[in-house]
Subunit: 248 residues, 2 copies
DNA sequence: CTAGTTTTAGTTGTTTATACCATAATTACC
DNA sequence: GGTAATTATGGTATAAACAACTAAAACTAG
């Protein structure tokens, strides 16, 4: 095709048929239940076709004047009440056959999904039941077959979560303001499994990195020696931003 | 807003005004000129408004029946003839004000850019001049102000390039079939600067990782002792896929 | 007071990164 | 033909880091 043709492609008299898009966001929302050692994913039930009766990732179509990130925050806020979270864009899925509403012969509509990845504090998250469609936390390993290509999106999100936990301080976005090293380790184990450092070496490494400041206070919950309470120091983290926090 | 309203949002009688999208891809195409030690970015001149006369990243609008990745490959193929390359999706930029064609009052159109990142072999890449709009390799440090938010996209792409080079074998996608360790080191230095291992330690690490197979053959170009020619062994790389190749 | 639990603080052996050096094998030049 | 320059290769030594393990400290439960 000539470049001339190409340049006219965005004019209305274009000889090349462009796709018309509906753009949505779909969120992979994770939460860590450290009490029960479970990594949870938020899914919602689809009441209407396509895929009526299937669980899916919570999503929405993007509105006028709304950024992609705003749309992602909105769909999250419609499903759960939470004030501590981390959110970032994940990947854009936009093949011409990912939604059955796209007919293969009549190319009248294309559905694009700009997926986002979120991590929310479990103790803080209150699911909003609207009485119309179901909503539930599913342990990652037990997530059923989801609508569209959402299982693929979820797999992508899980990889990102592991990666982020290894290199970024996102754990502190969902931990309480002050926490013990045991809390932190618990979170890592729940997400990553136990294929990394034991507690003792985990402690040593994190403390040596130097971005955890001891508050001086102690916990005394349950049996055992009281643990020191730490706070995350964002400024002190700067020099560590490229160093791994754990070794998987 | 009620969930009922939300669920009807994708019907034509929706009370919530959805955005209509034009979806394009914009490519950050890198190439490494190891002869002159330069990291190059491909830019094209925009002949028409908006941003007429500005350099920009090569992009195109997505066509009917075309996947995002296909569109990215297509725009690349329209600009350069090359057969060895690496390409992956980068990030989706879709704020409501990134294109001046979007009027802030009349929300009639939204331009979404699914950016992609590519690395091509320099010796292999032949730019396709169409006589209408300019096209050029720019050394990264000398890239001028680009159209739209393309400088931001470029910055994002450069970060991805450095990251990929650290952990992924993308260098071998643009190196010749057989190459010397000097060639490989040169490529890394050109992209990353010299803030990592010296040549000797670089050699030692790469050879120890064990995915470079010695072909037995030698080069003899220019002065100095002839270098062994190596080949990348994809199968042997598998166990190394999470280990860094260099330490920045 | 004793047993159990959890946190904390180490020690030790092995691996690994880094800086640096010596030598080998070629070309360039006088 | 000999010598210098150049590039590749194969080391060594030192310091740091990871991993596995041990032991003591500080609490609770009974």
């Amino acid at each position: 095709m000539s470049a001339k043709l190409h340049r006219t492609a965005n004019h209305s008299l274009s000889p090349v048929p462009l796709a018309d898009f509906k753009v949505g966001v779909d969120n992979v929302i994770f939460s860590v239940d450290t009490q029960q050692n479970r990594l949870l994913v938020l899914v919602v039930m689809r009441p209407d076709p396509p895929f009526a009766g299937y669980w899916s990732l919570p999503g929405t179509l993007v509105r006028q004047g709304e950024s992609l990130e705003d749309a992602a925050y909105r769909v999250l806020a419609e499903k759960i009440r939470v004030n501590t979270l981390y959110l970032e864009q994940l990947y854009t899925f936009g093949g011409p056959d990912r939604d059955p509403r796209e007919s293969p012969t009549a190319f009248d509509v294309r559905y694009l999904s700009v997926s986002h990845f979120a991590l929310v504090r479990f103790e803080d998250a209150e699911l909003i039941a609207d009485g119309v469609s179901g909503i539930a936390w599913y342990p990652l390993a037990q997530v059923p077959q989801l609508a569209f290509d959402h299982n693929e999106i979820l797999a992508y999100g899980y990889r990102r979560l592991r990666n982020k936990l290894e290199y970024s301080p996102i754990a502190f976005d969902v931990l309480p303001e002050v926490f013990t090293l045991g809390d932190l380790y618990q979170l890592y184990v729940t997400v990553l499994g136990d294929g990394f450092s034991d507690y003792s070496n985990f402690r040593a490494r994190l403390l040596k990195l130097g971005f955890l400041q001891d508050t001086g206070r102690k916990t005394s919950r349950g049996a055992g020696r009281p643990a020191s309470l730490y706070r995350f120091d964002a400024a002190a983290f700067e020099p560590c931003k490229d160093k791994p926090m754990v070794f998987i």
